[in-house]
Amino acid sequence: MRKSLQFGVLALACVAVAIGCSSGSAPTPTATPKPATSTASPTATASGGATVVATPTSSSSLIQIPADIQKEMPLLAKYHWSKVDWSPANLGKGQKTYGGVLKMNQPTVPTTWDTATKFGSTTALIDTPFFSRLLTYDESLTNAFAGAGNLHKLAFKGDLAASWDISADGKTYTFHLVQGIKYQNIPPVNGRELTSEDVVYNIRRLSDGSKSGATADIYKNMESVEATDKYTVVFHMKSVDGAFIYSIVSPLNNFVPKEAVDDGSINSMPIGSGPYIAKEFVPNDHLYAEKNPTYFKAGLPYLDRIEWYFIPDPATRIAAFRTGKIDEYTYRGWNDARQLLDNCGSLGCSLYVNEQNSGSNYYFGFQMNKKPFDEPRVRQAIALSIDYPAAITALYGGNARVGFSAVPSDWDGGRMFPRTQADAPEWYHYNPDKAKQLLKDAGYAPGSLNVNVWMSTTTGSMAAEPALYIEYLKAIGFNVTPKLVDAATLRTMYNSGNWEGLLYNATISGGSDLNDWASIMETGAPSNVFGISDPKLDVLIKAQRVELDRTKREQIGKQIADYDYQNIMGRVWLPSPLFYHFTRPWVQGLVGNDVYYWSTYWGLNVLEDTWLDRTRMPAGADR
């Protein structure tokens, strides 16, 4: 009897193994497909013989990649979004096709779908497919190619709002809603119409400080909001606020139906007016959604179905992309990108690269009002001690920005490309001897400066960068004590504005507006944890806040960036790695404005414009 039991177990095991290994065991991929690229000459897609008019030569050669970008960030130059072989239909030439499944990696797990709650910020990473708001970001390849030039320039367009006006004195904003918008046809809203009452209800919740930790700030300048008729919403502001219109574009402002809040269903499923309806949500695992047949924008969306998978381990994520379990892989991180550049799996991939502002602008932060950082020479010495090109080569294979400026590129005078080392002031050019001299001049003999470097650990993958920078600091005479804490503790330290020594951290943007970045350096601002207090800077920061004209704001932004770069206000900027978007060659229209946020699709309604080009899909792709 024992024997047969054992035999049975063994047999079962064999069957299990057989099942496990049976599916998907394709032979070793042969030639590893390289990411699709195109040079300046246009490509014609072979779609069953029909000739497609190629994109005008002029558009992609309109965008010249500057020489110093090509030198300092070769991958950014080579895989710039303007160099990608997009389907012509993206650029207005030809038809976009409907149908299909897109499989995506889910970056985090939302804890609730109601942004106007304490932890609503996690929702914003993934809520745009399900919800709508007044305005949304505008990422249009067509526009970018047609002359606007910068795909990642922060532009916005109406979502629920068909049009809007700002009064002459800048204190009244009037939004005219699209008429006939319907909520998704699921309980508890069951497809009823969305009107100005809903908008006002949401704005009131979002601006209520007692409910929300994250969004109330956006509305702090708002005096009142009202629905003057069924399709008109009017905001009255306390004062002129140049940041307001950009802030309400934030996906934290997604609008939820009152019924779902009242019966609590919004806490477990997303219910809104967006292009996709959530079908199945298993937190910490997956989220499936299907096309909303009554979406208010005619002709949208294109996809039938989207599947998100939450994959916590980075190595598994790469494996998932390679084996075709997910169709997009967008991550900063040279190591991951390098592996995929070598081999992105048998289904092939397409790639574009851009700079990123949020989550990857590393710096050493310090308190400007404490010794020894109140002494400019000490700050300069820190910057001078680092060999940026060598570090970038070692850490990022030569692909990173040499350092940031306190303001994102498109607010930094409206740049299309990031600043390079050629633009950087002398402090950001490696000169350890000068650094030692400056320290001596400032009265610190080598070896006499003790400094802590605080940093956080995730799963051990941040070790190389701070370890390297610390060696540079030691080489010029600092006595460095590395202090490792976990992420939550580091954040607490950061927010308290009270740490001893250097804090190794990356910027996390509070928003996409210039004001969010600039106010960190304003005297007395709650977000100013670096003890920065500079009257000249304050003047600039106040000026941008009340300036409504975009171009003028960009100019002020440049001045702020210059000032910070020159005077090292609170942060010594460290190299910032680039961001890599890998997608399947057939996935079209999935462009990200991750320039601002560490999650690619934050706030973008790109998924309503995403479509699959079947002519580029290999047989058996099962999409």
């Binding site: 980075p314 190595a315 190591n335 991951d336 390098r338 592996q339 070598d342 060999d387 060598a390 570090a391 080569t393 070692a394 850490l395 650990t457 995730t458 799963t459 051990g460 993958s461 070790a463 190389a464 701070p466 370890a467 390297l468 610390i470 060696e471 590395p482 490792l484 804490v485 976990d486 503790t489």
Partner: protein, 303 residues
């Protein structure tokens, strides 16, 4: 002294006559090697590891922290026996210095954790009564929390550092091990010889030191060898979860955890530390097995 046919490890351990020890040790080693080849091989490995940890400068140059960022990700060569890591540090050097860290973690775990557990176990078993009950209840309660969860919580609480990791692991092993020692004590305690000693007038302290202690030394030694391995492994797991010894300390666990992400491009960054951990844990366990076999053949391979 013989304690009769008590089915217990304690019985087989002969009274140690320190005088003869030196003379017999060489002969004993040879016998050991013949009877326990695996154990002997492991012992050799452990001796080598200890020597490497004690005198790292003999085998390496430059130290484990010397970075050469421009020579990162070099594959193993004559110059870098085990290649270089992501910022150009020599992996072989770090492996050797890592042996020291691993041994430190093990020594601390055994030194503090096992010692505390043993003392607790001996006291608890010998004294008995309410004290014993309380200690056992608390120990039971702690044992219901899986070790790694408790260690994670402790390190997270205390912030990751080598010391805190060592402390956390030491703490986690106490409940189980004190129980093992206690059961050894309990079985000796029942023996009529102890009763006799008490009657004759031997103080409790004396009884504990002279009679109980030598006979629990055996299981403690065996536990120690296994705990070394356990400590090294737990440190590696904690490093993977981001709660281990912080970089740039060259602990094998951290090296493996970091090297994991480079397995594809730079296999040497994970294979070598992984191999080091595996071999060390293997050696400790096999050696412990061999010791147990020597100390009581009847318990060969148990537990």
């Amino acid at each position: 002294m013989e304690f009769g046919q008590v089915k217990n490890i304690a019985t087989a351990f002969p009274t140690v006559r320190w005088g003869d020890k030196a003379k017999k040790s060489w002969k004993a080693s040879k016998t050991f090697a013949r009877r326990q080849p695996l154990g002997a091989a492991s012992a050799l490995f452990l001796i080598a590891m200890t020597l490497a940890a004690a005198f790292p400068a003999l085998l390496t140059s430059g130290g484990p922290y010397a970075i050469h960022p421009l020579e990162s990700f070099q594959s193993p060569s004559a110059h870098n026996l085990a290649g270089t890591d992501q910022i150009g540090r020599d992996v072989f050097t770090r492996l050797i210095y890592g042996a020291r860290i691993s041994l430190q973690v093990g020594i601390m775990t055994v030194g503090i954790g096992l010692t505390t557990a043993s003392l607790l176990g001996i006291l608890s078993g010998f004294v008995g009564g309410t004290f014993d009950t309380i200690v056992q209840r608390v120990s039971d309660a702690l044992q219901t929390i899986p070790g790694i969860v408790l260690a994670m919580a402790l390190v997270s609480l205390l912030q990751p550092s080598l010391t805190n990791v060592m402390f956390a692991i030491s703490f986690v092993i106490i409940p189980f091990n004190q129980r093992v020692v206690r059961s050894a004590v309990l079985s000796i305690k029942e023996n009529p010889y102890i009763e006799a000693a008490k009657v004759i007038g031997g103080g409790r302290m004396r009884i504990m030191l002279v009679h109980i202690l030598p006979n629990v030394v055996a299981p403690i030694i065996v536990l120690a060898s296994i705990l070394f391995g356990f400590a090294i492994l737990t440190e590696a797991s904690l490093s993977f979860l981001g709660l281990g010894t912080p970089p740039p300390t060259p602990s094998w666990g951290m090296m493996l955890s970091e090297g994991r992400q480079f397995t594809e491009n730079a296999w040497w960054l994970s294979i070598f530390p992984g191999l080091a951990i595996t071999l060390a844990v293997l050696a400790f366990n096999l050696f412990g097995d061999a010791l147990r076999d020597v100390l009581d053949p009847r318990l060969r391979g148990s537990r």
